[in-house]
Symmetry: C2
Subunit: 141 residues, 2 copies
């Protein structure tokens, strides 16, 4: 019975709200995105459009990989490339009423999951650490 309780639990309590989520915009240049990633310390962050909808995510690795030349990192190119041209567009999204079971399955291969509302507006993210913490709490009992 307790299994069913956990797996059907709603995820809304676990969501990190969008105001607390570091993000960048599609048209931002890569030097801006790299600075946000270094300052925040995050590996990857969501990319939003002007209507506050999630369009992808960007990581330090995608940025550095895009300027890795034969001999060195061509840092001078960072200002001329947009986030949109190197970001990862194939990212998981869940609705706010998704079950914990769905979030667990998705988190196996994704460190965080973007959460949207019914109108596809960005609500926040769900992270592996919060999923693991809830499982730990549940299995402890």
């Amino acid at each position: 019975l307790k299994h069913r309780q956990l797996m059907t639990e709603e995820i809304s309590d676990l969501i990190i709200s969008h105001e607390k989520v570091a993000h960048v915009q599609l048209q931002n240049p890569l030097d801006h995105a790299l600075l946000i990633l270094i300052k925040s310390g995050y590996t990857a962050i969501p990319v939003l459009d002007k209507d506050y909808r999630v369009q992808g995510q960007i990581s330090k690795n995608e940025i550095l990989d895009s300027i890795l030349g034969l001999e060195r990192l061509e840092m001078e190119r960072l200002h001329d490339i947009t986030v949109e041209s190197v970001m990862n567009k194939r990212i998981p999204r869940l609705k706010t009423d998704a079950t914990f079971a769905k979030a667990l399955t998705t988190s196996i291969n994704h460190p965080f999951i973007c959460i949207e509302n019914e109108e596809a507006a960005f609500v926040g993210i769900l992270t592996r650490s919060s999923i693991l913490a809830l499982i730990h709490h549940y299995l402890q009992q």
Copy 2:
């Protein structure tokens, strides 16, 4: 009963063996470590000493943060700084006979955990994705 079965399970089946784990050495310069991190795509990797013992872990963020000047990333300094001087030394380690319960608790705040044998030699790593996959398999039944 099944709870107890999962929590007391040994972690040995979940370990990614050391031959498959990207790593660097203490005395490597940062430009070498950054290249390994970009080529492998990993966020952070273990740092080993000459006796194949884990001494810490290094990430793209620690490397870039260490050369972030007021105006730009001072890439020319990368060759003169060693991994040892910027790596994170406070990392979790578990022994090969640790229980799943201990691995779950540790993984809440650490994306991967270094595993050592009785003589403190590096055996491999345990990742959040493998912990989440086992939990998912267990809760599905």
